[in-house]
């Protein structure tokens, strides 16, 4: 039950999503893995949010690393990603997304992030607190009926990597071309599959 990262992106149709802000919680990884985990998190987040339609709620399961990337993009083109492990309740992840977007909008003006065209990390202190608080989904929001399928307005689309990709592209192929990943991180991702878990031999 872990939230690994919360990321905010500027999403433009057809273009590569631009990073605006991101926070990580990686204490459960060894010191020398954290660099790779960060890169893989950023890569998976960016690729998922770039394939998410406006106002769509996507939970993409990445079986290779046993992680789930929850994303949404609002009508202004601001996207948010929450990367969790596979047992984290999707409903809670999506309300975390809503909160994170609110917090981001409170601190940063639309005109500011509209003008940004290269990866930036706008400081958003509230995200740091949110990621810690949401490590335990029940304590984060005890009133929420996280076990229920009640809220009809939220339709979470569950997708696998293959469904998300266009024209049958595979995440591995995208990964091999990505700038987000160093050689170490690519090895890390491949090993995660072999070991069927998130920390391989590196």
């Amino acid at each position: 039950m872990k939230v690994y990262s919360i990321g905010i992106f500027k999403v433009t149709p057809g273009g590569k999503p631009v990073l605006l802000s991101i926070v990580y919680e990686l204490s459960s990884f060894g010191f020398f893995q954290r660099g790779s985990v960060k890169e893989v998190s950023l890569f998976v987040s960016r690729e998922t949010v770039g394939r998410t339609g406006v106002n769509e709620r996507v939970s993409m399961e990445h079986t290779q690393t046993q992680k789930v990337c929850h994303t949404t993009v609002d009508s202004k083109g601001l996207g948010c990603t929450v990367l969790t492990d596979s047992e984290y309740p999707g409903r809670v992840a999506h309300s975390l997304i809503r909160l994170a977007l609110d917090e981001f909008n409170k601190v940063h003006n639309e005109s500011v992030w509209r003008a940004i065209n290269t990866d930036t990390e706008l400081p958003t202190p509230a995200l740091e607190q949110l990621i810690l608080k949401y490590q335990n989904p029940h304590e984060a929001d005890p009133m929420m009926n996280l076990q229920k399928n009640l809220d009809e307005t939220i339709t979470i689309v569950k997708k696998t990597v293959e469904q998300l990709g266009q024209r049958g592209e595979k995440l591995e192929d995208i990964a091999s071309k990505s700038d987000d990943l160093s050689f170490q991180s690519k090895a890390f991702m491949q090993n995660a599959e072999r070991m069927n878990k998130c920390c391989g031999y590196v």
Binding site: M1, F29, L146, K148, S182, F183, S185, K197, V202
Partner: protein, 412 residues
């Protein structure tokens, strides 16, 4: 390999690095990353924050081969010196350097391969002769576990170190906090780590009831954050099921001698009952909060089975009734879960509830439980209904469920 070959220099550098930085506490292999790329190709090691040691991957196999050659040479020197004498430090009065070299070489071997038995055994000898102390060895092992958390031989060595310390120090334990701490960390970086959990329980067995109950508290938070990892549940069960044995022992002791009981290691039956009551609430709550996970259900089944048939006391059914686990309570709980059609993962959750109920009904129709207040016909009726529901939920298992039903009818 000559004294000045590149790998021998690297080997010496590594030893010097450890001499200069005794607090190195984390180990990793580095292929290359953006942050440390510059110049790493030529650099075999990197030290970050003065206690995180990264070893460049390309040097590892060379280094290991070189270490092994050195180690074997040192080992034969060691054996020659010892000869037929019993092990003692005085044999090495003029060869203190040899012991240091053996210490370094065996540690370096273990950094790469924690399963190297020759190195582990040599390190045991260093402790026996009194060159290394137990606490330092534990520290070295902690470092090794940051890279090799699932090395069975290294865990075994750790247990030997603790036992050896105990033997030489009047049964005193080396710090149990360090042990519990390392188990927790290792279980974090490598989930479902059997060795770490077994070790944790082994350490707890030497501690008092009070400390076991503290551990129960610590693990509660862990379970909440890892609800599909069965290790945490099983650990709780080990602690909980050990409690009854303590009242038994204490009752016997009290009748034999009247000395004051050890407060830390004594637990009243009433306290156990309240701890179990909380546990039943805890697990029921987790099941409703996070539907669709099998592990909490499996744990619930284990717990109920134990409470209904396994309590090592005479008035079992009385106790399980006080805790609030009996056919009626469990039946009602499952009914509630099955009726909650709004639940997410409803199909899985329903299936788990039905299978759990089947287990409980199995228990109540077996000779183990003799509850005269229940009508056998009623139970049989429930059994039949539940089997019908199970067949509906798991149509591909129809044959199996029918077989269970026929067995049960035979028993009548």
């Amino acid at each position: 390999m000559t004294e000045s070959s590149p790998i021998s220099i690297i080997y010496k550098d590594l030893n010097k690095l450890f001499d200069d930085n005794p607090n190195i506490d984390e180990l990793g292999l580095i292929l290359s990353t953006k942050d440390y790329d510059s110049g790493l190709e030529s650099k075999p090691f990197i030290l970050i924050e003065s206690n995180k040691l990264g070893i460049s991957f390309q040097f590892v196999s060379q280094l290991y081969g070189y270490c092994f050659t050195i180690f074997n040479q040192l080992r034969s020197d060691f054996d020659k010196l010892v000869g037929a004498n019993p092990l003692s430090l005085s044999l090495f009065n003029n060869h203190n350097d040899l012991l240091k070299q053996i210490n370094d070489a065996s540690r370096n071997l273990l950094l790469v391969n924690a399963e190297n038995l020759s190195a582990l055994n040599m390190r045991k000898k260093l402790i026996i002769i009194g060159y290394n102390n137990h606490m330092n060895e534990i520290k070295t092992l902690n470092l090794i576990f940051t890279k090799h958390p699932k090395s069975g031989e290294a865990w075994c060595h750790r247990r030997w170190v603790l036992l050896d310390y105990k033997k030489k120090n009047n049964n005193a334990m080396l710090s149990s906090e360090v042990e519990l701490g390392v188990c927790k960390r290792v279980a974090e970086i490598y989930p479902k780590n059997y060795y770490a959990w077994t070790h944790r329980w082994w350490v707890l067995c030497n501690l008092s009831v009070k400390e076991k109950l503290e551990d129960l508290q610590i693990i509660e938070d862990w379970v909440k954050r890892n609800i599909s990892d069965y290790c945490g549940y099983h650990h709780r069960f080990l602690i909980l099921s050990s409690l009854f044995n303590h009242t038994n022992n204490n009752n016997n002791n009290n009748s034999n001698n009247s000395s004051a009981p050890d407060n830390n290691n004594n637990i009243e039956l009433q306290d156990i009952i309240s701890i179990y009551t909380q546990e039943v609430h805890f697990i029921n709550r987790l099941i409703t909060l996070y539907p669709g996970h099998e592990s909490p259900w499996t744990y619930k089944r284990l717990l109920s089975n134990y409470l209904l048939t396994g309590i090592p006391l005479n008035n079992k059914s009385n106790i399980s009734n006080q805790i609030g686990v009996n056919l009626q309570s469990e039946y009602e709980f499952c009914e509630t879960v099955i009726a909650d059609t709004d639940s997410s993962y409803y199909q899985q959750q329903k299936g788990f509830a039905q299978r759990y109920l089947c287990k409980i009904l199995d228990l109540y129709t077996s000779p183990n439980i003799n509850d005269t207040s229940l009508k056998i016909d009623d139970i049989n009726q429930c059994y039949k209904e539940n089997i019908t529901n199970l067949i509906e939920s798991f149509p591909h298992q129809t044959q199996f469920w029918n077989y269970k039903l026929s067995k049960q009818t035979d028993r009548k």
